[in-house]
Subunit: 250 residues, 2 copies
Amino acid sequence: MYQPSEEEREYLRNYRPGDYERPSVTVDNVIFTLSDKHELSILLIQRRNFPYKGLWAIPGGFVEMTESLLEAAARELKEETGLENIPMDQLATFGDVGRDPRMRVISVAYMAFVPKDSLNIHAGDDARDAELFRIYRNEEGLVLIGTRHVVKEDELAFDHAKVIETAIQRLKNRIDYTEDAFHFLENDQSFTIYELKKIFETVKGENLDAGNFRRDFLKKYVDTGKVVETGEKTSANGRRAATLYRKVRQ
Amino acid sequence: MYQPSEEEREYLRNYRPGDYERPSVTVDNVIFTLSDKHELSILLIQRRNFPYKGLWAIPGGFVEMTESLLEAAARELKEETGLENIPMDQLATFGDVGRDPRMRVISVAYMAFVPKDSLNIHAGDDARDAELFRIYRNEEGLVLIGTRHVVKEDELAFDHAKVIETAIQRLKNRIDYTEDAFHFLENDQSFTIYELKKIFETVKGENLDAGNFRRDFLKKYVDTGKVVETGEKTSANGRRAATLYRKVRQ
DNA sequence: GCAAAAGTGTTCTAGCTACACCCATGC
DNA sequence: GCATGGGTGTAGCTAGAACACTTTTGC
């Protein structure tokens, strides 16, 4: 391990940062969930202040000097949704010069996948309204449909349309080789194969063959020990009882 | 497109950034190339100033207020290597609190893949020495072997060992579905299948079957029009003449 | 008995792996 | 003639797509 010399420690004690201009740094969270009807959805907040007053944005905020980027993202997630201990993944960093009309702001975007029922949307201060939007697409681009509002791509604040597009793309690419899908489960300690199948279908935007999905699931997760049977079955409500599985937490 | 109201324009005219503390933002470049003996290599510079004086680091520098992150990375690449118009990809952003002992620094890492012969290593100011290091690995982690120096993982400045590890991982994952491999070619307007095969073998760290690689190459790049035959052949020097291909620039 | 999820079996094929084999050329 | 890279052919295997079919339950 690197041990600084006495000379270097002396230098650091006397170090005073120059007063050159610095950009502001924020974290922004793309929070994905699945709607009741199994549609990919995202949490947006409505801006009540300038700039982009009235437009919708992904939630975020300034990075404090005492917290890491991930800590900042997790703090913001908690403030917005009440959720803690959610795995978050860094998406990308957006830093074009004019992306915030006030000043230079560099934004590190994170993404999180959360089960809908756990979502407890805090508008935070009344400075902003929060809503869940289903993700659609037409010729002009993204269309986000909430319960009370419809938001088109160009009604998103800052460069957030680009951030969201990047996130959707990344999620689709990742879903097969990460464990993202499990994070959408309401309860990853008791779920059926077909609940998980629904999640994959939603994210990929295509229907999957039930038999093939089942075999893939068994080989990829059960045979490797990542998922085990709970021993329970669903109490049959209208159909044949299904085996319940549990995600093994590493 | 969003048109700010007169009120919002007024707000922006009068906007003065608060004087809260801001982190410094840098870009750092992981510059990959292949050595003469087809070994994956990376460009490092030796620090001649505190902190981490004498240790090796990936090149980088502060982001100017007037340039985007990518522009900053490209500017640094040019200063270090003389290379321009090289495609660069954002790797990840590193922002742990103590990663720079002087002050809070958030670093956006980029990666570039360049042909070795084009590399014209500028030490820049004499404040630093630059050298190409082949990438090896032993039980303790990364070992970087240059022509004059050998650098172990813990002799890298800041969190650059982590940055480099992340970059190597990403490169290995990307190589099959991106066009990174072509960027390592000395001349992508005239190359043979086997030159490209060598690059894939180096990055993946395994030998590939010549026949299968050839068929894959033809299907993946030639059939899709991404690569075309030049019409020329290698002037036979000790062996059968090989077809020369040219990458089509989109 | 029908709808719908749960679960199993089987066929067919595209694509990959492995490997054998021929060609061209310089030494 | 042999080493080396250039280039072709093909047998065999496997993952996966497609789909047929059975089970269980509530209505």
